[in-house]
Every structure is written in C-alpha cells, then in structure tokens.
Symmetry: C2
C-alpha cells in the first residue's frame, strides 16, 4: 500500500545528478552589465601589462650615470628639458646632465633609465631654465614599471566559468573586452505544492501557513546565477497539475517543485514523473533534512522535487540543484566550498543518516569555529536566515561533541562575495 523507498548515500545522489548531460550556452553582453555573470571563455592578455616601461610615480626621468657622484654633501644638478604627462610620449632625448619631468603612468623617455621621485629633488628656476638638485645616487632601473612585469601577452588571466568580480572586470577593461562572452542564465521554473499554502499578502487561516519556499528558492536560484520563473501553486487536481508541469517544461531548463514528494496520498509528484515518462534518478537520500528529495530527467530537462519543509528544501537545492546549474554556467568549481571547523556545541544524539546542520561560522586566531543557528528541525525557517554553512555530521551510532573537528559546507563558493 505504501511505497517503501530505498535511500541512497548523498554523494551517490550528487554524482547521479552531475552525470546528466545538461549543458549551458553563451551570449555577448556589455562590460558594464557583466557584474556577477560567469565567463564563457578564458580571458587572455592581448598585450603586455604595462604595455611599455612607465613611471610609477610623479618625478623625473634621468640617466642614472649622471648621479654617480651625487651625495648629501655633493649634490648634482640636472637640466629639465621637457615635461610629459601620462598618455604623452617624450619628443627629446636627454644628454649628459639632462632630465625629463614625468608624471605617474607616462612612458619612460628614450635615453633615460631611472626615475627619481618628485619629493626627493629640489627644483630651481634660473631665468627660463629649470633645474633639479639631487643629493643621492640613483641606480639604473630605479622606479621603473617594466613592460610586461604585471602580465605577459598571451597569459590566461581568468578561467572560463569564473564569476565577473570587480577585479575581473578591471582585467576585462584592460584587455579591451567592451563586450564580454558570458554564460546564458539558465531558466529555472518553480512550482509550490500544498493546499495549506497562502501567498505572503493573504491573511492567516486555521491550518494554513504562508508559502515561504518559493521566494526562498527564487533567491537561491538568483544567487546561483540563474533566472527564476515562479509559476505559482500547483492545483489539487492531478490532471490540471500534470498539464501545468508539462507546459512549464517547455519554458525552462530545470523545474523545481517544493512539497508533494513524500509518500502521502496528496503527493502527486511521483505520479507526474511516471506519467511524463521521466527517468527518476533517486527519490530518497540518506540525509537529514531533505531525505525525500527526488530528481528526475525528461527530454534533457531536469526535474527537482524538493521537500516542502523549508530547511529540507533549502538543503536539497544547495546539494543537488545548484551544482548542475553552476556547471551549466561553465564554473570549474560547481560545488560549495568545503573546509573544516571546530564544533562549539554537543550533538549527543546519534542519527543513522548524515546530518546537514545549519550553522554559523566564527573565525578566531586563525581557526574556524561553528555553531548551530537555532533549532535543528527540518521545518524551522528562522535558522536559515542566520546560517552561513552546514556542518556535515555523518550518520552512525555515536553523537558529536564540542571541540570535534567536522566537515563544513560553506554557503559561498570561493571565500569572497567577489567570487
């Protein structure tokens, strides 16, 4: 009467999803709109940086040989024969005891081999002539930014799939990417199921709760770099429900439903997958929360049946939907960042399944500590608002205690909101 489902291990479930062949595509957009998008090609240097030897300071371009005898008690004087700003090229070539006034970023004039900073000279005006007095020896090559010292032409600067952060944007501008090749944002459809669900603007009624999963998943989809399309609540009637799912699949790359995946009498999703002829990859995972997560594939489209419990829904998206979206965005690192942290709380109760405990990390003296954000019940929504990581507690016969070093899955990719 009741379907008995066999749970599969979390890693196996992730691997099954990632074995699907769903791929992304590419488009060209303007540099100014590119923040936060994923590059769909490697960025290569089309020229050396700096593109020429240049001055990193305001000062004077000199011939170092002229300062050979300069010292505190034996200043030397050089005649300033020209003045160049950034963006201009010197027209004269200094001879013995001549110098050129040079601004930050300007190319080093021919015939000179060092720069002395403005602050280190004394300027003199003798009628129409301009001189500088120098009281120290300057070495050949002093204060030069050399051509190519930052980047050599041809270097791969940023890998395909990287997120366009402010630093990456600076590189794109430097190398003339007025248009940037980026991954097209996957379209992700969202349906809520559950007759108990009210919209945020509706007043509460006995037995009913507001639908928090759809706005949350919408946010998770955006944070992953994809484009959410909310289709509303699925109807109670099976046929209407089936038609809605079928129509939605025409418009999206990936379809997420929340709720309706349990073994209860009102849980239509399994029947919908069957009627579609979709291949179900798994319908139960050995984890808490989120054990009833179902993933299916139909005609190159992916169907994610996430639990109706907010925390289970959140975890299900992060573990199973996000990585394949990231891969379609060409990311080389589609998984959330993993590391380890020291527990600040006991978890005395053993659990047969792997737990993903919503936590907040703290960093002290170069170490990472972690504590749970409130109740660890799968229905809890408040704990999600504060969590920045999951502590991963493998299932077994023993609990965990404060001081244990455990695996963490951070709710970020690379350690920066710029990455």
């Amino acid at each position: 009467m009741v379907e008995r489902r066999k749970p599969i291990p979390v890693q196996e479930a992730v691997d099954k999803v990632m074995a699907l062949s769903y791929e992304g595509s590419t488009e060209l957009i303007s540099l100014s709109e590119s923040d936060g998008r994923h590059l769909s090609e490697d960025v290569k240097a089309d020229h050396d940086v700096p593109p020429f030897d240049r001055s990193p300071y305001d000062g004077f371009a000199i011939r170092s040989v002229d300062t050979y005898n300069a010292g505190q008690d034996s200043p030397i004087e050089l005649e300033v024969i020209e003045e160049i700003g950034a963006g201009t090229v010197a027209t004269k070539i200094p001879e013995a005891n001549q110098a050129i006034r040079i601004m930050t970023g300007a190319p080093i004039p021919e015939g000179t081999d060092a720069v002395i900073m403005l602050e280190l000279v004394q300027e003199l005006q003798v009628e129409a002539q301009h001189f500088i007095k120098i009281k120290r020896r300057v070495k050949k090559g002093d204060n030069l930014s050399l051509q190519g010292e930052d980047t050599r032409k041809g270097t791969i600067l940023v890998e395909k799939g990287s997120i366009i952060t402010p630093g990456v944007k600076a590189l794109l501008a430097t190398f003339g990417y007025a248009k940037v090749p980026v991954a097209v944002k996957p379209d992700v459809g969202i349906f809520a199921t559950g007759t108990e669900l009210l919209d945020p603007e509706e007043a509460l009624e006995p037995g009913k709760i507001r639908n928090s999963n759809s706005p949350m998943i919408e946010g998770q989809v955006k944070a992953a770099g994809a484009n959410p399309l909310y289709f509303g609540k699925l109807d109670d009637d099976f046929e209407t429900c089936f038609t809605s799912v079928q129509q939605a699949l025409e418009k999206v790359d990936l379809l997420i439903t929340t709720g309706g995946v349990s073994v209860g009498d009102y849980d239509y999703l399994p029947a919908i997958y069957e009627k579609l002829g979709a291949t179900v990859l798994f319908n139960k995972v050995g984890m808490r929360p989120g054990s009833v997560t179902t993933v299916a594939e139909w005609n190159g489209k992916l169907l994610f049946g996430l639990s109706g419990n907010p925390s289970a829904c959140f975890v299900g998206f992060e573990l199973f939907a996000r990585p394949i979206l990231k891969r379609a965005l060409f990311s080389q690192y589609p998984y959330r960042m993993k590391s380890m942290g020291t527990l600040l709380t006991d978890f005395p109760k053993p659990n047969p399944f792997t737990r993903f405990v919503r936590c907040r990390t703290e960093e002290r003296e170069g170490r990472i500590y972690v504590k749970p954000t409130g109740l660890d019940k799968s229905g809890s929504v408040t704990s999600l608002a504060e969590a920045n990581a999951f502590a991963v507690l493998p299932g077994g016969t023993r609990g965990y205690k404060s001081g244990d070093l455990v695996d963490l899955i951070h709710l970020r990719d690379g350690g920066s909101d710029y990455l």
Copy 2:
C-alpha cells in the same frame, strides 16, 4: 613648490569618514525584487511559527493512551475515522481506539496527542472500514511540531540593515511581507581622470592604457549595494573639470574620482576641492597601496579621490567608501569581516607604512592560511582578480615570515554570499 602632505594612520582616516553625518533613506519594494537589498526595519514575527500544533510527517494522529499495551507480539488496532490534508482541519474527535489519517503540515486534531509515521503502521481494509495495526507504544507528544517552537510571536527575527538572503526572504514570506521596507540604494557618481586613458573599445596607442578603474569601481559599488553612475572621463581643462564635478554633485550622494589626486602638475582634484569650498578630511594615509587617497565633504555630499593605480584604487574604495555606503544602507556591520590567518609566504622587506597585501585564503583542517596573489605592486591588475582578502601587515622596522599569524580583511561581510 611641491605640497608636502602629512599621512594620517589608516584607522584615523576611517574614523574621520565614519564621523560624517551622511544617512540613508527607505522605500517599499516587492518581495520578489528584494534579493540582496538591505532591510530598513527590523523584521518581527506577527504570529507563532508553527502557528498551530502540526504534524511533521505523513501518518496517523492518535491518542497515545490507546497504544499503552501495544508491542511486537501484542499489536493493537485503531479505526481510521477521517483523513485530513495540510490546510484542512479535522471535523471529528477520535474516541478510544480511533485515529485520524494526517498529512505533513496538517493541524493535530482535537482529542489526539501524538502522531505515528505512515511507515510504522500496517493498514487494513475491512469492508468499508479502515484500520491500522500498531506494534509499538507511542508516547504523548511524539512527532508533534508544537505551536511557536520555531518562533514566538513578537520575536525580532532579522535586524534592520541585514541583507535579504534566501533564508531571510523565507522569513519575510512567512510573516506576510508582500512588500518589504529596504534602504534606498545610494547613487554613486564615478569620474576617471587621466589623459592616458582609453575606453575598452579603443585600440591601444603609444603611452596609453585602457581605463580599468571605472568598470572596477562600478562593480565594487554594486557589490556594496549601491547604484553606480559613470560620468566618463574628466576633461584636461580645469574649468571644464570643475563644472563637471559641480554638476555631478547635484545628482549623487557620493562622488568617486580615480586618479588626479597626487601632487603632480596634472592632478586637479586638490584644486577642485579648494574651489568648491569642500572640507578635506585627509589627503594622505599611512598605507600601501593607496597613500594618496583623499576624502572631502561638501554640502552633505562626499567626495572620494582615489588613486589612479588599480590596486590602490581598489583598496581605497574598500577601506573608506564602502563602510559609509553600508552605514547608509543601515548595516549594523559596515566593515568587511576581519579575522586572522597564517602567512604562507615571507615578506622580508620592512615598510614604514601599513601594507594591505592582496591575498587569497585557504582553509585546511580548521585553520586559515593566506598567500599573496601575484605581484604586490600597486599598479597590478591581475592580482585583484584572484584576491579574496587583504593581509594587513603593520609598518615597522621588520618584515614578516611564513608561519606568522596576521590580521586579515576578507572581501566579504559575513562569511556567506547569502550574507
């Protein structure tokens, strides 16, 4: 002839900026557009969560007393008198040896005090009657999600100034925020200065480089939660330049210029501040890179004169402009996250000024390690693309070595791209 500027310590410079009275304002937007915005009010629970005692599982609501004698060898039978889904309320009250079929999320029926999971019973159909067989004793309160166990009505759930993450969005939906009060995005004007600058679409010329600072600052402004307005390059002519700045100040809350703040002959910004009658808070900071950063205030508008060197420009924005923008967005934590990490590289050369070294962090076995991303020259753009933190190396007479624990400023706020 040359203005001698007195550098002030970094912390003093930050404090001077934060002492300015620039404040943010508030607006109401729809929940679905609210991702990544800053709350302008505390979010409070307007009802208990769960709002009623409910079932966390699909199963049967029972009277625990009926199972008192149940065991592996002494199963008991209960008659199922009604079936309720989530969102519906039972119409019957079970008497001795009666149960109600209940779905996940449905309210616990009057007269029952526990739930037994679907998987743990055997269902029997005897003509029109429906029975369940139970082989274990169920305790009062088993499998109930109690009213208010997640959140009590009146609790402050999320503080004013917090970023709306997917988890926060779930809370907003739960508590009926169809419209959300958020901070208005500050308008931040951006000017580039420098005759050597080309736009990304222009071909390279001798002595010229492409303007990478403006697109980068645009990205940093967006990442901070504000609205960038790029006004182009400032003209070489002082009067035109002055008029452009004056007109821009009418349209923005904060004006950023890159370049033109040194003591060179083409650096107009100091003269513009003077002609405006702006109060210069500081024009030199004891730090590398970014020592020539200038901040001024005029008529409630803030002027940030950042260095033209990309890395110095980047650091100047992060240290001085971002925190006051975050405060105008009501953030309780306007500064970047600080922690400590262990150096993986030597920095043998002492430096009289505090260095902000662009670094990438690594986490291993619960500890944070840090290494520089390429050259630490202030003109380097490639190092910015990979950095996720600054290592802060205070100035002094000694260098630093691999293994030293140093302060870090992470390029993120709270440890999550959801925060």
